[in-house]
């Protein structure tokens, strides 16, 4: 390595810290035998890769409604979740870019008593936006806000297994669970469970005072939310941005146009149809992450003909998942295999065999069930997921080749979840996914769960579920979850079509590290984690 090359290397490492000007860098590059353009390119790339302080980012969110509020009992969509949970607040834990659990406001956590007791130790010296110290009392009040008979929190069900929370001194919180749950810290990372100051023993959410990287400056429900940097944020150096504005742009075309004209720097849920064309724009970067979310077609196993496992199996073979992934999601989805556990989740194991479109097999199982032909209704609406109706159209075409006549019934979008889901024998459904296998299975496949959408009650599965939850031996857990995924694949009434990918697009002016898969918008934490690479 020549001296000039060495200097150039050193200079590269200094760019991120803002120690080298662009001009000096280009000179060094020339000295090292590069062209002006090439060294400039390297400067930009390197600069982007290194977090920088300052800047104002405008982030276009795919949601936003006039009924939005900063109340963590709600947070129905990505607007409130990203702006108020991710940017403004912290929970006890967070999920990192690799799907692992990390302490956030907590400094550490540990379990005892067969994962029935969980002790969280709080980080020292953390203050709310108003300067008040965060204490265990605040944590208890914040959690209680989602518990109890009269809570209005949508997250109530997550804490139903918690029998007691108490503060043990100012910096320790102890959770006692009804039954062991090795994944409890994951639950604590849910975006609802933000820590709010306790006022008179009650969580004060209305003031907007939180612990997060940003302080709320202006919020117009359904329009925008503007936040500015919290100078006293407890994470060193973060956030990088001085200001962020979240803008609600629910119309897809408008969102795409706003990014194209540079009126926003980032948009969530980019248009898949025109992604190819968007990619050609050199100023735009597209990020795609396979999330936990998945699209399902639950069959009610208590109702004929779905009470017959062979019929269920026939249906599973009569659907072309790849085509749905390609056409409904335009390739921006990962084909699933009738198990709800996403590849990014711990203990994921793909069951055998891979269910795909195979008319032979479908007919085989149909015959096994004693049928030549079958006629079933599939209830769909785009309220279940965007493209559900089109998916129905595709399923009808493929199923017809297997002797199954699928009558696609369009249901009203309003109150779809009230009137269709869990009511109609076969319908479309969506799960945003859970961070752990246990959590997912408990909510959607456990016999006693009120959202057991296929009404599937497999004794072995339910036995395993309880055992695995309290098991602390990783290898044993892995085996148990592996078996459960196979059972779901083989016997349950849920047809899991695909896992969704979060596709977002942004200006290359924005820089970021690895993107977390647990939620959209970098696990909702983009405001805290991203930076402005060039002004």
């Amino acid at each position: 390595m020549s001296e000039s090359e060495y200097k150039f290397r050193v200079a590269q490492s200094l760019i991120g810290r803002g120690k080298v000007s662009r001009r000096d860098f280009i000179h060094l590059g020339l000295a090292a035998g590069l062209t002006v353009a090439a060294s400039d390119q390297i400067f930009v790339t390197v600069a982007r890769a290194q977090p920088q302080q300052g800047g104002f980012a405008k982030l276009g969110m795919a949601h936003g409604a006039t009924t939005d509020s900063i109340d963590p009992a709600g947070y129905p969509d990505t607007f409130t979740q990203t702006a108020f949970s991710g940017a403004m607040s912290n929970g006890l834990t967070e999920v990192d870019a690799k799907g692992g659990i990390q302490p956030d406001l907590a400094e550490s956590f540990e379990s005892s008593n067969g994962a029935k007791t969980w002790v969280f130790k709080l980080r020292k010296g953390v203050t709310f936006h108003n300067g008040k110290k965060v204490t265990a009392e605040d944590v208890v009040s914040s959690m209680r806000y989602h518990m109890g008979v009269d809570t209005k929190s949508a997250a109530k069900s997550l804490l139903e297994s918690v029998s007691d929370i108490k503060a043990d001194g100012p910096e320790t919180v102890v959770f006692t669970l009804n039954s062991g749950n090795a994944d409890f810290p994951y639950i604590m990372s849910d975006y609802h469970f933000v820590i709010m100051p306790s006022v008179d023993g009650k969580a004060d959410w209305a003031s907007g005072t939180r612990t997060g990287a940003f302080v709320l400056e202006n919020f117009q429900p359904g329009v925008s939310a503007k936040l500015k940097r919290n100078p006293n944020y407890f994470k060193n150096g973060k956030p990088y941005l001085d200001e962020v504005e979240f803008i609600a742009i629910t119309d897809l075309a408008a969102r795409m146009a706003a990014l194209s004209t540079g009126e926003v720097d980032y948009i969530g849920r980019a248009d898949l149809k025109t992604l190819g064309m968007l990619k050609r724009n050199p100023k735009i970067e597209i990020i795609e992450v396979t999330g936990y979310g998945h699209y399902t077609l639950p069959m009610n196993v208590t109702i004929a003909p779905f009470d017959n496992p062979d019929v269920r199996m026939a249906m599973k073979w009569a659907i072309d998942r790849q085509e749905i992934a390609d056409k409904i999601f335009l390739g921006h989805a990962t084909v699933a295999n009738d198990s709800p556990i996403a590849p990014a989740i711990k203990f994921y194991k793909n069951p055998e065999p891979q269910h795909r479109f195979d008319p032979e097999k479908a007919r085989h199982y149909l015959k096994k069930a004693g049928m030549e032909k079958l006629k079933v209704d599939l209830s769909v609406a785009d309220a279940a997921f965007a493209g559900a109706v089109d998916a129905g159209a595709l399923i009808r075409e493929t199923a017809a080749q297997c002797g199954i006549d699928v009558n696609v019934v369009r249901e009203a979008e309003d109150a779809y979840w009230d009137n269709v889901w869990l009511k109609k024998p076969w319908c479309a459904s969506y799960w945003s996914g859970r961070a752990t296998a246990d959590w997912m299975f408990t909510q959607a496949f456990a016999a006693e769960s009120s959202w057991n959408e296929s009404f599937w009650k497999n004794p072995r599965f339910n036995e395993l579920l309880v055992q695995a939850r309290a098991e602390t031996d990783e290898a044993k857990r892995a085996a148990m979850y592996g078996e459960m995924q196979q059972l779901a694949h083989d016997d349950s009434g849920s047809i899991v079509l695909v896992f969704n990918n979060f596709v977002s697009a942004q200006s290359k002016k924005l820089g970021h590290g690895d993107v977390a898969p647990n939620w959209e918008n970098d696990g909702l934490k983009m405001a805290e984690r991203w930076w402005m690479a060039e002004a």
Partner: protein, 350 residues
């Protein structure tokens, strides 16, 4: 007592208007009551437990019977209290008035801005088209305006946005490369002559006035394209209709110039139908712009009402509906007053 005809109409219409508002409130209330789901279910979403839903229903009073809710609402209304949004929580009151006020301002802003462009434009074009009827000008104006109203509104909006985006992207498209160079350059130049209006009209209460105008440019242009045709055609038709009147022959026989014939003799008699159509279109500007609001992300009352309907936020829906109905009633009243004021037969009865 013999009232002035204008005063009489105003009083009569205001009375009827109040009844209309009352009936509208009943209809809207019943409609929301009939909608599947309610606010609690809509906001808590898919994963809420029934107990949670019940608790929320109780807090916002949804567990009371609809008739009782309606009467308590109208009782407050009578006192001028629009009530609170269902999005309010204990200690965090969001009154309907404070939710609607900025939205209404925005809607009015856009409506007035558009009207200031569209109404003079439509009247001017209509008058000139009537004056030079069957000329190429007349035909071109007619066909162009007709075409603009023939496209769905959102399509017009997208097309305008596309023009703005094309400033930067046109040169790189395959289409541009397939054109002769001079043509591609001149198209590109033309595109760049148009100011780069923002495709995102996301204003808020801190937006300065001229920035507001700037951001509302595209929505306003879209609406102008949508409403000009109707008003222009009516102006033209109303004037042409008058042109077959004997007194127009008389004006010509008195040696009046064609412009004087149209402006002084035809137009004053054509106000009534023109004003009615203008009022109709102004009402549309306030009431019917939800699509444009969505496309340009403009925070107006239309989108607010659609949002509120989706989330079953009854007090907000009710207030929006009343604002809209009142607008309709008032604009029609104004149109009637102008019709009377411009018609000596009604203004000065024998």
């Amino acid at each position: 007592m013999r009232l002035n005809p204008v005063a009489k109409t105003v009083l009569q219409r205001l009375g009827l208007g109040l009844i209309t508002l009352f009936v509208v409130s009943i209809i809207i209330f019943s409609a929301i009551a009939m909608l599947p789901g309610d606010f609690a279910k809509a906001t808590l979403g898919q994963s809420a437990t029934p107990e949670t839903v019940a608790a929320l229903q109780h807090e916002i009073g949804l567990d009371r019977p609809p008739v009782e809710r309606y009467f308590s609402w109208i009782g407050k209304m009578a006192k001028g209290d629009f009530g609170s949004s269902f999005a309010s929580r204990t200690g965090y009151r969001r009154t309907v008035a404070e939710i609607i006020a900025p939205r209404l301002y925005n809607t009015m802003f856009l409506a007035v801005m558009t009207a200031l462009i569209a109404v003079p434009l439509a009247l001017g074009l209509g008058i000139v088209a009537a004056l030079y009827r069957n000329s190429w000008f007349d035909r071109v104006v007619n066909t162009v305006t007709l075409t603009t109203i023939s496209f769905p509104e959102f399509f017009v909006a997208y097309m305008l946005a596309f023009l703005i985006i094309s400033r930067d992207t046109f040169a790189g498209t395959e289409f541009a490369q397939s054109l002769p160079v001079w043509l591609a350059i001149s198209i590109n130049w033309t595109l760049n002559v148009v100011p780069k209006f923002p495709t995102l009209a996301n204003i808020n209460d801190q937006t300065p006035f001229w920035d507001h105008v700037w951001r509302a440019a595209l929505p306003s242009a879209t609406l102008t394209l949508v409403i000009v045709a109707h008003m222009m055609r009516m102006t033209r038709a109303a004037i042409l209709n008058m042109l077959s009147s004997p007194y127009i022959d008389m004006a010509r026989l008195k040696g009046m110039r064609p412009m004087v014939v149209v402006l002084r003799h035809a137009l004053p008699n054509a106000w009534a139908p023109i004003v009615t159509v203008v009022a109709f279109n102004l009402a549309y500007l306030i009431v019917g712009v939800v699509v444009v609001e969505v496309v340009f992300v403009y925070p107006g009352v239309g989108q607010l009402m659609v949002d509120a309907v989706r989330s079953r936020d009854v007090p907000v829906v009710q207030a929006c509906a009343l604002v809209f109905a009142a607008t309709y009633v008032l604009l029609n009243l104004i149109a009637d007053i102008i019709s009377i004021a411009t018609n000596p037969r009604l203004l000065h009865p024998r």
